[in-house]
């Protein structure tokens, strides 16, 4: 559809009839300043082609010229497919609609009223909503082709529009009948899955699985219960088996007990006989023993009596011999004692000889010691004299000590150094004249006048300068380093004074002389030191008086020994010979003493032995005599009642009785031994076993009863029946799960398959739009923005700049770029729609945010597009569109003229 002309009357600011056109098939620019009615023109076009003519209300009232009750009307002439039409609509009070078709060179009425309105509206939009026609989403084709004032943004395209575009692209995704299917599938899917394709929390399968899990838990419990039932059954069986074994064992023990009891009875009988025989035997034995003992006692006493008599008789001669022996031994002991005493008296002589020998040795020793003392005292006295003389010499000697000398030397050195420094600080002028000169020293050490003869020298010194006036020659002046010579002189004078003071005690200040004096002092001190060392070596730690005292004491001791041994004073004793003689004498004495004591000891021992033997034998003899006497009395007493023959007879009779009792006992013992152990003991053991067994049996029975109780308690619940019911329940749930699981998977597969197919198809159909729009955008804005991403309903949703990997939304691009994206998309869609029929694009003052550079490119694009599409641009910026190729320009202001305007 393209437009040829538009005429409006009594429409807002258009009072009179105003017609704009005829429009070219290509580019049309309608321009005029603000307020001339460009947007009113756009509005009138919309009302003519889309809005119902019977509309009323506030919105409708606004289209009336202000303050006038006129009837707004619009007529649009357009071409669709191969026909030309004219639609005229009158609104408000004169509402009417008429469509005329150009036939045979004239406009012929074609349709009127609502059918005329529907006829035209359906050319643009298939949808006819009852309300809200003014909204863009109900504009149909015009949603894409018409851009209202300043708004290039595309509205959401209606379903039929999208389908129209798809059809134009030759792709069938769904038709109108698909909707309910998709909706139903979505509904079906949403029963089980969330929007995120997750299984819903309350979906049936989950509930079934939950039920199954619960049943399985209960089943596990019941199976465990059944298993417990079986286990307890086995345990009861085992316990019963054990109990039966124990009962059998006790039965056997009862039998054994019965047998043993019978054995015990017989045994006891035998045992009684045995005890009786034993008692008879013991009685007979006792009687025999008594008889035997009585006879034995008589015989024993007789024997003892005889024996004692023999012994006493034998002892008498022996006792006599022993008495003689004792006397001999007593005599021998006496002789030994006398000899020992005789030898003992020689001990004084031995001691004297030994003392003389020792004294002689001591005497000689003391004399030698006295001589040593005297020699030492003499030497000491000699050294004492030497020391005293040396010290006297030293005291008389005047010489510096090494310390004093060192100090003098140091002072001398410093004095010399100061002298050198002083000399160095002076300016020295030496004058050696050839003729006599008169010299006047004006500045220097020796100021004043003097004369200098030829051949002599004059030395002028001074500091810091010297000035000398030489008559006939001139005035000489010399200056030198700025050293304070005066200070040096003062220091030199002080040092000289110190030096003199140090040397004064020695009457010389010649250092060499002083050194010689000091060497003499050293030598004398050395001699004194050596003498003192010698003296100390002789005396040690003691004094000379100590030595002298000791010599006097030794002399006194020698004198004492001389008084004891006067001969020794003239002739000193031979200490060795005296000592040897004394030792020999002593040795002989001790040997004799030892021999005498040994002989005495032997005699004493022999005497003691003899005495002991005598006493012992005598005592034994006395005892035997006493025993003999006692035995005689006992024998008399024994034989007092029965004689020996009678006793013998009694013994013989008792012997016969005892032998008989022994025989009877042997028989009884043999009979008893035949039983082995005492059956009573066995019986006791059996009873213990029975008691133990009874305890075990009681325990076993109790355990069996307890276990049986548990068993019956579980059996009473009928666990198998519960198991059956649960397994049946489980089987039913599992069957439902299988069905439900397959159903869910099927629903999921159905939905996913549908979605993926749809996605693939949408991708296929949106690509041409995307491609064309992206190409246009690139021409306008360059490749920086990249491709335009278009939704399945052909709505631009973003751009994909090549520098980044993802798309960005249109919210993130500039206003101008956003406008250009919408422009490019609209043109792409229009181009596609124009594939079937030329279409008109109407733009009311759009692209206001686009800069001139890009606008120029847009112009080129519009020029190209105008070859396929009719383009009507309403603008207040005429200058922007000037010079466009093949463009038809309409000056709205001049068209309207004064008459048509309010």
């Amino acid at each position: 559809m393209i437009f040829r002309n538009i005429t409006l009357k009594a429409w807002r600011n258009f009072l009179g009839e105003t017609s704009v056109g005829p429009f070219s098939d290509g580019l049309n620019i309608i321009y005029g300043p603000n307020g001339t009615g460009k947007s009113t023109l756009f509005e009138a076009l919309q009302f003519a082609m889309l809005n119902p003519f019977k509309s009323s209300g506030k919105d409708m009232d606004t289209i009336q010229p202000w303050g006038r009750s006129l009837t707004p009307s619009v007529t649009v002439e357009f071409a669709c497919k191969d026909d030309s039409y004219q639609i005229s609509k009158t609104f408000l009070s004169g509402c009417a609609c008429e469509v005329r078709r150009f036939e045979n060179g004239n406009w012929q009425p074609y349709k009127d009223g609502s059918s005329a309105h529907e006829f035209v509206r359906e050319m643009i939009s298939k949808e006819a909503p009852g309300r809200g026609l003014a909204k863009q989403e109900h504009w149909g084709l015009a949603q894409i082709l018409w851009a209202p004032q300043g708004n290039m943004q595309l509205p959401s395209l209606s379903g039929s529009m999208v389908e129209d575009i798809r059809r134009a692209l030759g792709v069938q995704v769904t038709d109108s009948s698909s909707g309910p299917f998709e909706k139903r599938i979505e509904e079906f899917y949403s029963q089980y899955y969330t929007d995120n394709s997750k299984e819903k929390k309350d979906f049936p399968l989950k509930r079934l699985r939950q039920e199954l899990a619960e049943v399985e838990v209960r089943l596990a419990e019941i199976r465990e219960e059944n298993q417990k039932l079986e286990n307890l059954s086995r345990k009861v069986e085992d316990l019963a088996g054990s109990r039966r074994q124990l009962e059998q064992h006790r039965k056997e023990l009862d039998n054994a007990k019965s047998i043993k009891e019978r054995q015990a009875e017989a045994y006891n009988k035998e045992k009684t006989g045995y005890e009786k025989a034993k008692s008879g035997k013991e009685t007979a034995e006792l009687r025999y023993n008594n008889a035997s003992n009585g006879l034995s006692a008589v015989e024993s006493l007789e024997s003892k009596q005889n024996e004692l008599k023999a012994k006493t008789e034998k002892n008498i001669p022996i006792l006599n011999d022993l008495e003689k022996e004792v006397k001999n031994r007593e005599k021998q002991e006496e002789e030994g004692k006398e000899r020992r005493e005789s030898i003992g008296k020689q001990l004084v002589d031995v001691d004297n000889a030994m003392k003389t020998a020792n004294d002689a040795k001591e005497y000689l020793g003391k004399r030698e010691a006295l001589e040593r003392f005297e020699a030492k005292i003499r030497a000491a006295e000699e050294y004492q004299n030497k020391i005293r003389e040396s010290k006297e010499q030293l005291n008389a000697l005047i010489a510096p000590t090494p310390k004093e000398l060192k100090k003098i030397r140091k002072c001398r050195g410093e004095l010399d150094a100061l002298t050198i420094q002083l000399n160095a600080s002076l300016i020295i002028l030496e004058i050696e004249p050839e003729i006599e000169l008169n010299l006047k020293v004006e500045a220097g050490e020796l100021e004043g006048k003097s004369s200098i003869k030829p051949g002599s020298k004059a030395l002028i010194k001074g500091s810091p300068r010297i000035i000398a006036q030489i008559s006939g020659v001139g005035r000489l002046s010399a200056s030198g380093p700025a050293v304070d010579a005066q200070q040096l002189r003062e220091e030199l004078s002080g040092k000289q004074e110190e030096f003199d003071t140090l040397c004064a005690p020695f009457n010389t200040n010649d250092v060499n002389e002083l050194e010689t004096m000091q060497a003499g002092r050293d030598k004398l001190e050395k001699v004194t030191g050596e003498a003192i060392a010698k003296l100390e070596g002789i005396l040690g730690d003691e004094s000379l008086d100590d030595h002298k005292g000791r010599a006097l004491r030794t002399l006194a001791e020698i004198t004492q020994l001389n008084s004891r041994y006067p001969a020794w004073e003239k002739s000193p004793p031979d200490a060795g010979s005296l000592s040897m003689a004394a030792v020999e004498f002593k040795t002989k004495f001790e040997q004799a003493k030892t021999d005498a004591e040994s002989a005495l000891a032997t005699a004493t021992a022999a005497l003691a032995s003899a005495r002991e033997q005598y006493i012992a034998l005598n005592a034994e003899n006395q005892t035997q005599l006493a025993q003999l006497d006692q035995t005689g009395r006992e024998l008399t007493a024994l034989l007092e009642r029965k004689g020996k023959q009678e006793l013998q007879k009694e013994k013989n009779e008792a012997s016969i009785q005892w032998t008989s009792a022994c025989a009877q006992f042997d028989v009884a013992e043999k009979n008893l031994a035949a039983y082995g152990m005492d059956p009573e003991e066995d019986l006791e053991g059996i009873n213990r076993q029975i008691n133990e067994l009874n305890t075990q049996l009681d325990n076993k029975r109790e355990e069996e009863n307890i276990t049986r109780g548990k068993l019956e308690s579980i059996a009473a619940k009928g666990p198998y029946t519960l198991l059956c019911r649960l397994e049946e329940q489980k089987a039913d749930i599992q069957a439902k799960i299988t069905v439900e699981d397959t159903r869910m998977k099927a629903i999921s597969l159905l939905k996913k398959t549908m979605s993926s197919i749809k996605e693939a198809m949408v991708q296929t159909i949106s690509q041409p739009v995307q491609k064309a729009a992206s190409r246009t955008l690139a021409r306008i804005a360059g490749s920086g923005l990249g491709a335009i991403a278009v939704s399945d309903s052909f709505y631009p949703i973003g751009v994909q700049p090549p520098v980044i990997n993802h798309s960005i939304t249109l919210e993130d691009v500039s206003g101008g770029e956003k406008e250009q994206v919408y422009f490019a998309t609209r043109l792409a869609l229009a181009e596609i729609l124009a594939g079937r029929e030329r279409q008109a694009v109407v733009m009311d003052d759009v692209l206001t945010a686009t800069d001139m550079g890009r606008f120029v490119r847009i112009q080129r694009i519009l020029e190209e597009l105008a070859q396929k599409i009719q383009i009507i641009i309403l603008t207040c910026h005429k200058e922007k569109y000037l010079g466009m190729k093949n463009a038809a320009y309409f000056d709205l202001e001049s068209i309207i003229g004064d008459d048509a305007r309010t």
Binding site: Q172, V173, T174, D175, S177, S178, P180, F181, E182, R184, I185, F188, N226, L229, L232, S233, R234, V236, E237, A240, R708, L711, E712, I714, A715, A716, K717, G718, P719, Y720, T721, L722, L723, C724, R725, E727, E728, A731, D732, A735, T742, R743, K745, A746, I747, L749, L750, T753, M754, I757, K758, M761
Partner: protein, 369 residues
């Protein structure tokens, strides 16, 4: 001598995959037991023999023991019962329940020793454990007896298909033990065994109430009559079962009319609330079949005690994709075709794809109506 031989009541039996009908199946076993006792009374049996497995397990709820004892008490003569491998004579077993001792005509035979019964001697072989490789009737030696001698045992007659011996009983057990008749339990189908002379001297009475679908010759008891020592026993099968476990109806739908035939077949079955039916359909789901299947499910539900309708083997026919063509063009149609291809690929997700097609198929019906 005339007695009723029954076995394998398995009171308290598990009934898996029967849903709410499981309880009914258990109750029917007690009802069948009442019928056994009633028949024994009606046919003037002198005594009853119960050859083991009276109960499914020793852990069944105790009220069932009482109920069973009450039922048996209604028999006018003595009842001789041996424990079987399901309810062996062990501590805590059902046989310790006081209801047995309180009823004079009930005799739980706990020892393998001859017992006098009306008209002869009974050699019982009680089972004391769940598994054994020993012949339970091996101890019987009635060769020298003059009175009619019968045995009561629970085990597997040699020759029956088993991997491991399970209380094996030789085929010649009656002859070897000198018995006129050996009443057996353990196997659920009624089965008499003839000796060399053609006399039916040994038989399984079979369970008195069928336990599962496909169980042959079950739901019976045997009335046995022996006129004298060495005489051939006369066996009469008495039907005692109450439930009908109908054979599995497994059909392949290979043309659009197949489902109608299946429906007709089911409608022709004698329906009652004692029948349990299983229907398994495979093949293709043709146009309009979904509604028919729903209808078929309604029929099964209303006419039978319990039904199982397995249609997991059904898929929309690959040759007839008219229903796909009827779907909206574009995404929906393409989705249907993609799923169909996945299903036909037979891959890992083929089963889920089949179900997804079924879902879409149902949706298409729902939306289009």
């Amino acid at each position: 001598m005339k007695f009723l031989h029954t076995a394998d009541w398995q009171i308290g039996m598990k009934a898996l995959h029967l849903g709410a009908a499981g309880q009914r199946v258990r109750e029917e076993r007690l009802a069948a037991a009442r019928r056994v006792v009633a028949l024994a009374n009606d046919r003037d049996a002198e005594f009853m023999l119960v050859a083991g497995d009276t109960f499914e397990d020793n852990g069944v709820e105790r009220i069932l023991i009482q109920k069973t004892a009450d039922i048996l008490r209604e028999f006018k003569g003595p009842v001789y019962i041996i424990p079987g491998n399901h309810d062996p004579l062990v501590p805590g077993s059902v046989w310790e329940h006081p209801s047995w001792a309180s009823t004079a005509n009930l005799h739980i035979l706990k020892e393998p020793e001859p017992v006098e019964v009306p008209g002869g001697l009974l050699f019982p072989c009680p089972i004391m454990e769940k598994h054994s490789n020993a012949n339970p009737a091996g101890w019987i030696n009635a060769g020298g007896k003059k009175e009619i001698c019968i045995g009561l045992a629970h085990g597997t007659v040699e020759g029956l298909p088993l991997d491991d011996p399970d209380f094996p009983i030789p085929r010649n057990a009656p002859a070897a033990g000198g018995l006129d008749y050996l009443a057996l339990g353990h196997w659920h189908s009624t089965a008499p065994y003839k000796d060399n002379q053609g006399k039916e001297t040994m038989a399984y009475a079979g369970t008195h109430e069928t336990t599962r679908s496909g169980e042959r010759d079950s739901g019976n008891a045997l009335l046995v009559e022996i006129t004298g020592r060495g005489a051939a026993p006369r066996l009469e099968i008495l039907h005692t079962g109450g439930l009908q476990w109908l054979p599995l109806i497994e059909r392949n739908l290979d043309n659009p009319d197949s489902l109608d035939r299946v429906k007709k077949e089911i409608e022709l079955l004698e329906a009652c609330d004692t029948s349990i039916i299983q229907v398994k359909l495979s093949g293709f789901l043709y146009e309009g079949h979904q509604e028919k299947i729903d209808h078929l499910a309604d029929i099964l539900k209303s006419r039978f005690l319990h039904h199982q309708l397995d249609i997991s083997g059904l898929t929309p026919t690959p040759d007839d994709d008219r229903w796909i063509s009827s779907l909206p063009e574009g995404v929906i149609q393409k989705t249907a075709r993609t799923l169909a291809e996945e299903w036909k690929s037979g891959g890992e997700t083929s089963g889920v794809a089949r179900e997804a097609i079924m879902q879409l198929f149902r949706l298409s019906r729902e939306v289009q109506t």
